[in-house]
Every structure is written in structure tokens, then in C-alpha cells.
Symmetry: C2
Subunit: 420 residues, 2 copies
């Protein structure tokens, strides 16, 4: 009988190969119900592992009430809250349906979704369109301005983007992200390069399909004023790249890391859809003027999918300017984060390299064994939401994936492999 | 009597202060004859110090013939060459008229010019619009496609950009360039970030003023396909920043570095418009496939104005990815170029910092004394043109400003200061 270590190594090689050989292409923007059947019901998909209403944090509850009003399931926020607490609304994780969402991660019937297709494997992944900064639903915002913006995104922006993308024949994200890494983005807390490059690629196609110039002016304004516009695209790319790596027997590679604001959950290739959870931690970071850690909600969102594919905190070395923004120490030492993450990953991604580190590939494929052995948690660059619903982002920082998730996963993995 | 060293130090402090306190704003795009009176005559402004036809290099001659046809002064290239060789066309340096131009640097009556206003000092500087890559006039290209592109720029693109800029109330370049430095641009051989950021800022205004969507689609396509679009804007900013620093008595600060493909010339604050020239050198660099050093024309263009203000080769540390492109060694060592240039400059520019070097300001204000004392020439990141007219760019590399320019300037400066 072959040694178990070899079996695992081979399985991990296969899993890493699947991750690295994906070809994510931004192909379309569509209405959620057109692609995710379950959304035809009154169901709300959210970030992170499964969670019931009574354990949800403030921003998650705020977003749920807002989106229920937006969908017309409740006529106001109070009514929405009542529905939710009486279990008249159903909840499920985005990850269960090929979706991801930043922060609260609301995905529902009437929202338009970015479509990223992994053209090597044929699967598709979805994410809503980034709403911009300030008071927005992903941070639990739910007032009239938030809902009106969502309506405009749905009725005007999304159809324009979808048409432009179809005209462009899709936009390949692997080279775009590669370029962003040479321009100081790490694709989690810094997306200014990729947001600009994406607009630059899309602008001519948008102009070619737009009904008139006013629509265009509004669309460009909206995209141009949001340095994080690309985040949701990167997240959908992450989901599209990791989904084909589920279910590889013997692989200890992480396929998802995600948080619902209460629990942190990870998934591992060989254990499929199963979540291994632990209480989520508080990010360490810097707060916007007027806010402090006492205002902060614990770590939240599906956005840690970008770290799962080697970006975000794993690519800190590409983004020295982000180090200061997330309170991660001296900019010149940003590369140390990347080097540390190389200790817990299976390999390096030669398609995504960091010039300042002499074109080192970003560390890819988190191995739960190495996380536990080295006692090194994955580093996640994250936004920090206010703990009360409706307020929004109050800072940015670095979060650690809780070690307990990896310990639990490793125990189950070991059992599965017949190791005590 | 005060010591001469102190007098010079004080004058240099003033000159550096002028350079650093400038506020370059991209305000307009206008027709050349509307702002530069002398262009109403049959005069061709070119890059570098003054030069007569018979000493001009191949690409410069090619560009002159092309632009004479474009202006309608000759009906074909042969006729244009005859006119030029018979001294029926007049030539003068761009720098003499508040202009700069990349490579051959043709500026004539019918071309639209980018206008950068130094809002701290009230002066304006001009540069043509970047034509894109491949066969273009700045590299000596002069065939029908080159002339047609110039016509389209003049008739459709320039009016749209001018209108958009006026609607935007101008675009401040100091913060834009600062941002570009955090995104891997050094503003000479790498302008992808600033080109993208500029398009992103202009796009909504362009949409708001465009007559119809087709014009917009063409304009966005043109700008989006050119990573060097911003170069000409950065150059005009350089000219706008340095012009107020001319004529400060006792200052040994360089106010211009420029090349016409035959001679390299510098100007110094205290000696005003006077050029100190030496034979231009060959850049050391990397060639596009199919070309080698034997195809290359020596160093050319007014673009070294960006090094004069602390960008380009001086800001190499901000742009590790450019190091490979220009053949400047390991990307991780790019910061060494910046450190070396700090040895020959008067100070650091705290508005333009390099994250990976823990926010070191770019070295600004070249002191001819230090260049000579340390025997360290300014490093210039440059494009390399084919030596024959009409072919275009064949590579990119690093050029050295010839030491003899600084030695000559220093001798004159010393005489002026009464030192033997």
C-alpha cells in the first residue's frame, strides 16, 4: 500500500494544478434569477458559512432588511425584520450556489450578477456589482439612497455592462490581474489599477452599445469613482477558479475561506461542501477618522476567496501602498507577508508575479496541514464594517483566519485518510 | 562679502522651491497656432537643442518631411526633403516656445497641443498628443497612415478632449502623478497607470460633451490602446514646472535636458536659455524581436524633461517592472537607480513618493556641480528609434546624459560666479 503522505502529495499536486490552470473570463452581467434557479423563491444568499437570523451580526441583519424591501417582500425595514425573525425568509450561503459576495454579501432575485466563466473547466461563478463606497448594502446600509442606487445598477448600468462584455467577447482576467499586480494592486483592499484597466478595456465597447451619451456619462462616473469596483470581479474569478478543485480525494488544499460576521468557515478539497467553522476574529487595522475598534464588527464577507487563490494578504508584496492602509507595518517590508504565506501554500503561481520580488509568483493553494504544523494562519486584507446596521465601512485591516477552522478540518481530513 | 558657496546654496534652494511648489494642471487641448504665434509661419519646432538640416539624424529628417506634407507645405515626401535641404523650411527647438515633444518632437501650425498650466506661477506649457505605438511620426514615421491618424487627432479627438477638460475644470497632475508612482509608473517608459487613471477621470466628461456615441467609441479605443498616452502630458507638466525656474542668479540647477538625435543639450537656471551640448550617446537597452543596436538611432527627444523633474530614470524605484523593459537589471534592485540619482540632486520631492522605498520622495533638482563632482550622469529611461526614417520604435533602454554637457555648463557657471 502506498504511503499516505505520497497519496496526499499527489492529490494536492492535482488540486493545485486545477487552481493554476483555470482561465477566468469576465463574460457577462445577468439577472440573478436567470442563472440561479433557487433565487426565484424568497431566499437570501449571504456571505460566509450558514447562519440563522438570531446569530447574525448587526450589519448582516441590516442588509437583510434592506434587500427584503428592495425585493418588495416587505414594505419597510421593520416589516422586513419581523419577517426575518419569524423565519418567513430563507437564508443560504452564496458559496452553495456558485456565488460570492463582499461583506454581508446579499444575493437575491432582482440583482444583476457579474458572470466569470472558467473557460478551462466550463464552470461559471457570480457576484453582485460593487456599489461603491460610503453607505452601501454590503456594509449593512439599507436606506433610500442605497436602494435607489441598487435600482439604477439593475435597470441601467447592468444591462449596459452585459451588452458591452458580450460585444467584447469577454475580458480575460488572468492577464488583467497579472498586470494589476505589477501596478500595486493585491485585489482585496487595493483594486485601483484593475478597476482602471477594466474600465479602459470596457469603455470603447460601452460607447459602442450605449443608447445615448447620458447613460454612458452616468456609467463612467459611477465606475470611475470607485477604486474597489474590481473587487467583486476578482471575487467571482476566485470562485470560478476554486470550484473545479472541490472533491479531489486526498487533497488537503483549501477551496474556500469565508465569514458571515459571526463565524469564519473554510472548505477543503477532499471534504467537499462541508464547512469547518470557528468564531470569527476582529481584524487589526486602522480606522477612518471618528471611529475606533469599539465601533467595529468582526471580520465578514466571502471576499477572502481572493486570499484562497493567492491574492489579497498573500500578494501584499505586490502592493506596498496597501500595507499602510491596512496597518500592516512598513511598506518596504510588505513582501514579508507574501513570504510568510509561502510557508503554508503548495506552490507559487507563475502567472501572477510580483516585480519587486524579482517576479516571484504569488503563493497559491493553502494546505491545511502546513497551517496547523507551522501555526501560521492565512493573512486576510479586509474592510471593517461598523457593527450597527446602516452605517458602513469604518476602517481596513488585516484579519487572521482562526486556527480552530484548520484544526477541525485537519481532524476530519485525517479520519477520512484513515489516520488517527 | 558672502562666500560663493552660500550664495549658490541659497539660489539653489530658491530654484528647487520653484520646482517643487509648481501646480501643473491639464487644462485644455488647443490648436498650435492659437497659442504659439510663431507657428503661423512655415516653422517646424523639433526636440532637443537647435540643429540644422544637414546635421539631423534619419528619424528627425523623416518626421520633418512627413509633417511638411501634413501641413500642406509639400505635396509629397521628396518635395518636402528638397524644401528642407534648400533651407525653405525654418527649424527651432520646442523648448524655445514653451513646448516639448517626444522623440523627433514635431510641433507645427495645424497640430493640436495639450495645455498644462502651472497654476502656482501662471505659465503654460504645450505638447502634442501621443500618437500611439508602431509607425508614428515621433519615431520618424511619415506614411499615409501616420498622416491620417494626425488628421483624425486634429479634427475629432482633440476638440473632444479640449471640451472635456474645460468641462472638468482641468485635471490636477501633481496628485495624478503621485498616484501613478504608487502604481508602478515612472512616467517615461511606463505610463500605463497614469494613462488609465487619466482616461478614467476624463471618460465621464467626454461622454457628457460628445456629439454622439461613435465619436466616443473611437476616442476611448485610441486612448485605451496606448499605454504611453500619458507620456506627453507628463512632459508638458515637466516643462510647466521647470520654466519658472529659469534665470535664478547663482543657481546651478538643471532646467532642461533634451536631445535632437545628434546632440544632447542641457540648460541651467542661472544661464537661462543657453544650451550646453555634446554628442548624444547610444542608449543601452533591449531591442524588440528582429532588431539590434545596429538599427538604433542615438538618444532623442525632449522627453528627458521628466527626468529633469525627478521622474523617469530618477523614479526607477517606483517602477520595478520597467527595469526589465529598459534592461536596467534586477527588478528588486530598481531602487538603486533612485538612490544614485539622489546623489546628484538638491532634494527630495515629498509630493511624489515611492511606497516600496518607505515613501522616499523622488530625487529632484539636478545640480550640475554634483554631477561633475561625483562623475554621475543623470539616468534617462528612453525609447529607441530606428535610425532610418519611417520605421519607428525598435527598443527601450537607459541613456546617460553626456558628462561633457555638465562640464561645459559648470565652466560657464563658474565664470559667471567669478570663480576660475
Amino acid at each position: 500500500m502506498e504511503e499516505i503522505g505520497n497519496v496526499i502529495d499527489r492529490a494536492n499536486e492535482q488540486a493545485l494544478g486545477v487552481l493554476l490552470s483555470g482561465e477566468p473570463v469576465l463574460v457577462d452581467v445577468v439577472l440573478a434569477t436567470d442563472v440561479i434557479n433557487v433565487l426565484k423563491e424568497k431566499i437570501i444568499l449571504h456571505a460566509g458559512p450558514p447562519i440563522e437570523w438570531k446569530r447574525m451580526c448587526g450589519p448582516m441583519r441590516g442588509a437583510i432588511c434592506g434587500i427584503a424591501v428592495f425585493e418588495g417582500w416587505a414594505s419597510n425595514l421593520n416589516e422586513a425584520e419581523k419577517l426575518a425573525s419569524q423565519e418567513a425568509l430563507e437564508f443560504a450561503p452564496n458559496h452553495q450556489f456558485g456565488c460570492v459576495g463582499p461583506m454581508t454579501g446579499m444575493t437575491t432575485a432582482s440583482q444583476p450578477l457579474i458572470v466569470v466563466e472558467n473557460q478551462h473547466y466550463g464552470n461559471r461563478a457570480y457576484c453582485t456589482i460593487n456599489e461603491g463606497l460610503g453607505k452601501v448594502m454590503r456594509f449593512g446600509g439599507n436606506d433610500q439612497t442605497v436602494l435607489e442606487r441598487l435600482s439604477w445598477i439593475k435597470n441601467e448600468l447592468a444591462p449596459l455592462l452585459g451588452q458591452a462584455l458580450r460585444r467584447a467577447g469577454g475580458i480575460k482576467l488572468k492577464p488583467l490581474i497579472a498586470r494589476g499586480l505589477t501596478m500595486g494592486d493585491e485585489m482585496h483592499q487595493r483594486n485601483v489599477a484593475c478597476s482602471s484597466l477594466l474600465l479602459r478595456e470596457l469603455a470603447p465597447h460601452m460607447a459602442a452599445v450605449a443608447p445615448e451619451t447620458e447613460t454612458l456619462a452616468r456609467a463612467y462616473s459611477f465606475i470611475a469613482s470607485n477604486d474597489q469596483f474590481f473587487l467583486n470581479v476578482a471575487m467571482a474569478a476566485g470562485k470560478a477558479l476554486t470550484d473545479p478543485a472541490y472533491g479531489i480525494k486526498g487533497s488537503s488544499m483549501v477551496t474556500a475561506m469565508s465569514r458571515n460576521g459571526t463565524d469564519f468557515g473554510i472548505r477543503v478539497s477532499s471534504t467537499g461542501d462541508r464547512w469547518f467553522t470557528a468564531p470569527v476574529e476582529m481584524p487589526k487595522g486602522l480606522y477612518f477618522p471618528g471611529y475606533s475598534e469599539s465601533d467595529a464588527n468582526p471580520d465578514m464577507g466571502d471576499s477572502a476567496i481572493v486570499e484562497t487563490i493567492g491574492l489579497g494578504g498573500f500578494a501584499m508584496g505586490a502592493a506596498p501602498a496597501v500595507a499602510g492602509f491596512v496597518g500592516a507595518g512598513a511598506a518596504s517590508q510588505a513582501g514579508q507577508y507574501t513570504k510568510n504565506m509561502a510557508e503554508i501554500t503548495l506552490g507559487e503561481n507563475k502567472s501572477w508575479t510580483i516585480p519587486a520580488m524579482d517576479y516571484l509568483g504569488v503563493p497559491a493553494g493553502i494546505d491545511i496541514r502546513r497551517v496547523v504544523e507551522t501555526n501560521t494562519s492565512p493573512t486576510i486584507n479586509t474592510g471593517i464594517a461598523h457593527k450597527e446596521p446602516g452605517i458602513g465601512q469604518v476602517g481596513a485591516g488585516v484579519a487572521k483566519a482562526p486556527m480552530a477552522c484548520f484544526q477541525k478540518a485537519l481532524r476530519t481530513f485525517a479520519e477520512q485518510m484513515g489516520v488517527k
